[in-house]
C-alpha cells in the first residue's frame, strides 16, 4: 500500500521535505502505550508506505521532486541528507534553470508539454518500485507558476495515465486565506488510501474539497505542562467544525446546529459571520492513550449533515493507541464541508475584478491561455461555491 509523493515548485518541495521528516520522526517516536508488536507493525507499515529501503538501511523517500529552478531542490536534497535519518533518491528530481515567472500559463502550456516525458518517466520509475502501489500525493501551491501551472498539467497527466489509482492534491492557498498543516497531513496520510473510506468522504464528484483540522494546537515543548481529556478535545473539535474555526483559540461557541427537523436558517450567506457549517461527510482520527474510551457521539448528530448520506456513512472514526509524536492524545478532523467556501469566494472575487478590467491577460494569452479558458475556470468555481453554499 505505497504512496508516491510528487513535490512541485518551491512550496511543494519545501513542504514535502517537512512531511517526510515528520513522518519518520513520528515513526521513531516512543511507542507509548502500544504493545511492542503493535508498535513494530506501525513502524513497518509507515515506512513501507512512504519509504523504500536501500543499501545501508537509510530509508529513501518515495518521492519525485520537480521544479523549474534549481535552488530549492538543491536545498531540499541536502537538508534531507544532512538529517542522516533518511534521504531522497539520487535520481528522483527534475529541474530546469529558469523558473515559471509566477505565470500559470507558462507552467502549464510551456513547461508542461516540454518536460512531460521526463517527468512522467521519473514518476513511473518510482511507481514501479512499489510492491503494491495505491496512489499519489501531490503537493503544490496555487499562487505561483510552477506549482500551480505545471502542477495542474501533471495532475491531469496522472489522471490519464493512472486512472484507477487515487490522487490527493495538497494545495497551499495564497497568503491571507489559509494555512499549511504539515503535521496533520502526515497523520492522516497514514490512514488514507483505503478506498472505501475515501468513497464516503468524497461522495459526489462535484464536492471534493477536503479540509483538515487538528488539535491540540500546541508546540511540543509546552506539552509537558498540559493534560487533555478526550471529552475536552472532541468537544472543541466539534465546535471547530460547526463554527468554521481554523484554530482552537477563538472558537465561537455561539454557533449551534439547527434544531433537528428544521432546515438551517436560510441559505448560507457569505457575508454573515455567524453561520453554521454544514458537512457532507466527516472523518475523525484519534490517536493516543485510552482512545477506546473516546466518545464521538457528538459527531453523529444528523443535524450536522446534509441528508444525502446515511448518517452511518456520513461519519467515520479511526482510532489507534499509537500516539503521534509527543502528543499523548491528538485528534484530526478531515471534513468535506463548507469550510473552504469563504476563502474560495474571496479569491474568485479578486480574480474576477482583475479579469473584468482585463489586467494581466496578455501575460497569459502569450502562452496560449485564452479568455474563454479564464471564463471556463470562473464558471466552474462559481458552480463549486454555489453548490457548497446550498448544502
Amino acid at each position: 500500500m505505497s504512496i508516491v509523493t510528487v513535490q512541485l515548485g518551491q512550496c511543494g518541495n519545501q513542504i514535502g521535505f517537512e512531511v517526510f521528516d515528520a513522518l519518520l520522526r513520528d515513526s521513531h517516536s516512543s511507542q507509548g502505550l502500544c504493545s511492542k508488536r503493535e508498535n513494530e507493525a506501525y513502524q513497518t507499515s509507515c515506512k513501507e508506505r512512504f519509504f523504500s529501503e536501500e543499501e545501508n538501511g537509510v530509508p529513501i523517500a518515495r518521492a519525485v521532486l520537480v521544479d523549474m529552478e534549481p535552488k530549492v531542490i538543491n536545498q531540499t536534497l541536502s537538508k534531507a541528507a544532512q538529517s542522516g535519518q533518511w534521504k531522497y533518491g539520487k535520481h528522483a528530481c527534475f529541474c530546469q534553470k529558469q523558473g515559471s515567472g509566477n505565470n500559470w500559463a507558462y507552467g502549464y502550456s510551456v513547461h508542461g508539454p516540454r518536460h512531460e516525458e521526463s517527468i512522467m518517466n521519473l514518476i513511473q520509475k518510482e511507481v514501479e518500485k512499489c510492491d503494491s502501489f495505491s496512489g499519489f500525493f501531490i503537493i503544490m501551491s496555487m499562487a505561483g507558476g510552477t506549482g500551480s501551472g505545471l502542477g495542474a498539467f501533471v495532475t491531469q497527466n496522472l489522471q490519464d495515465q493512472y486512472p484507477n489509482s487515487l490522487k490527493m492534491n495538497q494545495i497551499i492557498w495564497p497568503y491571507g486565506t489559509g494555512e499549511v498543516w504539515t503535521y496533520t497531513i502526515c497523520k492522516n496520510l497514514f490512514f488514507f488510501f483505503t478506498g472505501d473510506l475515501m468513497e464516503h468522504l468524497v461522495a459526489h464528484p462535484e464536492f471534493k474539497m477536503l479540509s483538515v483540522r487538528n488539535i491540540p494546537h500546541m508546540s511540543e515543548n509546552s506539552l509537558a505542562y498540559s493534560t487533555f481529556t478526550w471529552a475536552g478535545l472532541l468537544k472543541h473539535l466539534r465546535q471547530m467544525l460547526i463554527s468554521n474555526a481554523k484554530m482552537e483559540e477563538g472558537i465561537d461557541w455561539q454557533v449551534r446546529p439547527p434544531l433537528s427537523g428544521l432546515p438551517p436558517l436560510g441559505k448560507m450567506s457569505l457575508s454573515k459571520d455567524l453561520h453554521f457549517n454544514t458537512s457532507i461527510a466527516n472523518l475523525v482520527i484519534l490517536r493516543g492513550k485510552d482512545v477506546q474510551s473516546a466518545d464521538v457521539e457528538g459527531f453523529k448528530d444528523p443535524a450536522l449533515y446534509t441528508s444525502w448520506l446515511e448518517p452511518v456513512n456520513a461519519f467515520n472514526v479511526w482510532k489507534t493507541q499509537r500516539a503521534f509524536s509527543k502528543y499523548e492524545k491528538s485528534a484530526v478532523l478531515v471534513s468535506n464541508s463548507q469550510f473552504l467556501v469563504k476563502p474560495l469566494d474571496m479569491i474568485v472575487k479578486k480574480a474576477w475584478n482583475m479579469f473584468a478590467s482585463k489586467a494581466y491577460i496578455h501575460q497569459y494569452t502569450k502562452f496560449g491561455i485564452e479568455e474563454e479558458d479564464f471564463l471556463d475556470s470562473f464558471t466552474l468555481l462559481e458552480q463549486v461555491i454555489a453548490s457548497y453554499c446550498n448544502l
Binding site: 494581466y360 471564463l375 454555489a386
Partner: protein, 475 residues
C-alpha cells in the same frame, strides 16, 4: 541561474554602461572572496582563459582567470568607446563585442535608425547571437541608451525590434534617459517621440530616467555631505559617485555622478538575479507582476537611502525612513510624483539585513497614503536579497507602475508639437531614405494613445471601489 546581456548604445548608453561594469566588478570582488567563478558572477560575466586563442577560451567553473563582461558596445562615433578601451576596464570587454563607426548620427534618429540600422544589421545580429550562445540560459537583454540623440535613440530602438524577432523569449529591459527641459539638443523632441513608438511596441519594460532628477539627487547628496552632519565620514569602500577607490578617475564632470546613480539602479535591479536571498525575484517576475497591460510598461524607479549612493557613512536612520523616502517625489529618478497619482503595481526590492516582517509592516503603514487601481489593491511585489550594497547594511529599490509618468510624456509631446508645427529641422529627417512624414504622425499618435490609456486609468482614481457583478450560476 540565468544570464543577461547588456547592450549599450550611443554616448550616454556607453558611459552609463561603463559605470555599471565598474560597480559590478567591485561588488562581486567584495562578495566573492575566494575568487571562484560561481553562478552569481556568471550571470553577467564570462570566465575566460586569455591564453587560448580564438573562441575556445571559456571556462565554466573553478578559479577566475579573466572576467569578460556579457556586453555589446555600439556607437557610431569612436570617441567614447576608445576612451573605454584605453581605460582601466579595457580587459573586461572583448574586442569582438564592439561595433563602431566614425561619423556619428548627428543627433538624428533617422540616421541612427534607418541608415546605420541597415548598414550594421548583420554585424549586430552576429554579435548578439554569439553572446547568446555563450550563455547557458539567457533570460534578459538590458539596453541602455538616451532618447534625445541619434545613435542611442535611433540605432538603440532599431535593435529592439531585432531582439524581439530573433530572441522572442528573452526579456527586453530598456533603461532610457529622457531629455530634460533644458536639453542642449534642439531636435531631442523629434528623436524622443520617434523612439517612444518603438519602446511602446517592442520593449517589455522601460525604466524612464531624466537628467534633471539625477542632477537634483546629486545636489541633495552633496548638501548632505557638505553640511557637516555629525558622524559623517568618507567611506573607503562603498561604491558610488566619485571618490578614492573608484576606477574612474575623472570625476570633475557632473555626468559621472549622475551615471553612477543609473548604474546603481541596474545593480540593485539585478541583485536578486545575481545573489541568493530568502525571497528571490527573477527578472521575468518583474515583467509578469508589474505590467498588467502590454503598453503600460513604464516603471518609475527610486533608490533609497540616498547615502548608499554616496561614499559617506551617515549613521543609519530608522529602517522605516528608507521605505517612506522611496515614495517621495524627491527620490524618483524621473520627475514624477507617484504618491499623488495612481498605482497599477509596485515592486520593492530590498537588499541586506531586512526581515520580511519589516517589509510587510512598512507596506501596511504606507498603503493608506497611496492610491492603487481598484482591481489591484494588493498590487505589491517584494523581494529580499541577502547581499547588501558594498559598505552598507541595506538598500531599497522601488519600481512603480504609476500614472505619474503621464506628465513627462505630455510635456514631451508639447515640445515636439512646438517644433513640428514650424516644420523646424524636419528636412534633416525627411531626406533620409525610408523616412516620410507618416513616420512622424504615426509616432505622435502612438504617444497620444499611450497618454490616453493613462488618462482613462486616472479617471478611476478616487472612485469608490466597486466589486463587479459576478457570473451567476443556475443551481
Amino acid at each position: 541561474m540565468t544570464q543577461s546581456v547588456v547592450v549599450q548604445v550611443g554616448q550616454c548608453g556607453n558611459q552609463i554602461g561603463c559605470c555599471f561594469w565598474d560597480l559590478a566588478l567591485r561588488e562581486h570582488a567584495a562578495v566573492n572572496q575566494k575568487g571562484i567563478y560561481d553562478e552569481a558572477i556568471s550571470s553577467f560575466f564570462r570566465n575566460v582563459d586569455t591564453r587560448v586563442v580564438g573562441d575556445g577560451g571559456s571556462i565554466s567553473k573553478g578559479k577566475i582567470r579573466s572576467l569578460k563582461a556579457r556586453a555589446i558596445l555600439i556607437d557610431m562615433e569612436e570617441g567614447v568607446v576608445n576612451e573605454i578601451l584605453q581605460g582601466p576596464l579595457r580587459d573586461v570587454f572583448d574586442t569582438n563585442q564592439l561595433i563602431t563607426d566614425i561619423s556619428g548620427s548627428g543627433n538624428n534618429w533617422a540616421v541612427g535608425h534607418k541608415v546605420f540600422g541597415s548598414l550594421y544589421q548583420d554585424q549586430i545580429l552576429e554579435k548578439l547571437r554569439k553572446s547568446a550562445e555563450q550563455c547557458d540560459c539567457l533570460q534578459c537583454f538590458f539596453i541602455i541608451h538616451s532618447m534625445g540623440g541619434g545613435t542611442g535613440s535611433g540605432l538603440g530602438t532599431f535593435l529592439l525590434k531585432m531582439l524581439e524577432d530573433e530572441f522572442p523569449e528573452v526579456y527586453r529591459f530598456v533603461t532610457s534617459i529622457y531629455p530634460s527641459d533644458e536639453d542642449d539638443v534642439i531636435t531631442s523632441p523629434y528623436n524622443s517621440i520617434l523612439a517612444m513608438k518603438e519602446l511602446n511596441e517592442h520593449a517589455d519594460c522601460v525604466l524612464p530616467i531624466d537628467n534633471q532628477s539625477l542632477f537634483d539627487i546629486i545636489s541633495k547628496i552633496d548638501l548632505m555631505v557638505n553640511s557637516g552632519k555629525l558622524g559623517t565620514t568618507v567611506k573607503p569602500k562603498s561604491l558610488v559617485t566619485s571618490s578614492s577607490g573608484a576606477l574612474k578617475k575623472c570625476h570633475k564632470k557632473p555626468f559621472d555622478a549622475m551615471n553612477n546613480i543609473v548604474a546603481n539602479l541596474l545593480l540593485n535591479l539585478t541583485s536578486s538575479a545575481r545573489f541568493e536571498g530568502s525571497l528571490n525575484m527573477d527578472l521575468s517576475e518583474i515583467s509578469m507582476n508589474l505590467v498588467p497591460f502590454p503598453r503600460l510598461h513604464y516603471l518609475v524607479a527610486s533608490l533609497t537611502p540616498l547615502y548608499t549612493l554616496a561614499d559617506v557613512s551617515i549613521p543609519p536612520r530608522r529602517l522605516d525612513q528608507m521605505f517612506s523616502d522611496a515614495f517621495s517625489k524627491d527620490h524618483q529618478l524621473l520627475r514624477a510624483d507617484p504618491k499623488h497619482s495612481l498605482y497599477l503595481a509596485c515592486a520593492l526590492m530590498v537588499r541586506g539585513n531586512v526581515q520580511i516582517s519589516d517589509l510587510r509592516r512598512n507596506i501596511e503603514r504606507l498603503k493608506p497614503s497611496l492610491q492603487f487601481v481598484s482591481w489591484n489593491q494588493e498590487g505589491w511585489k517584494t523581494s529580499l536579497c541577502s547581499i547588501p550594497p558594498v559598505g552598507h547594511s541595506h538598500s531599497l529599490l522601488a519600481l512603480a507602475n504609476n500614472t505619474c509618468v503621464k506628465p513627462t510624456f505630455m510635456e514631451l509631446k508639447e515640445r515636439y508639437m512646438r517644433l513640428y508645427k514650424k516644420k523646424a529641422h524636419l528636412h534633416h529627417y525627411l531626406q533620409v531614405e525610408g523616412m516620410e512624414e507618416s513616420c512622424f504622425t504615426e509616432a505622435v499618435s502612438s504617444l497620444s494613445a499611450l497618454i490616453q490609456e493613462y488618462n482613462q486609468l486616472d479617471a478611476t482614481k478616487n472612485m469608490p471601489v466597486q466589486d463587479l457583478p459576478r457570473l451567476s450560476i443556475a443551481v
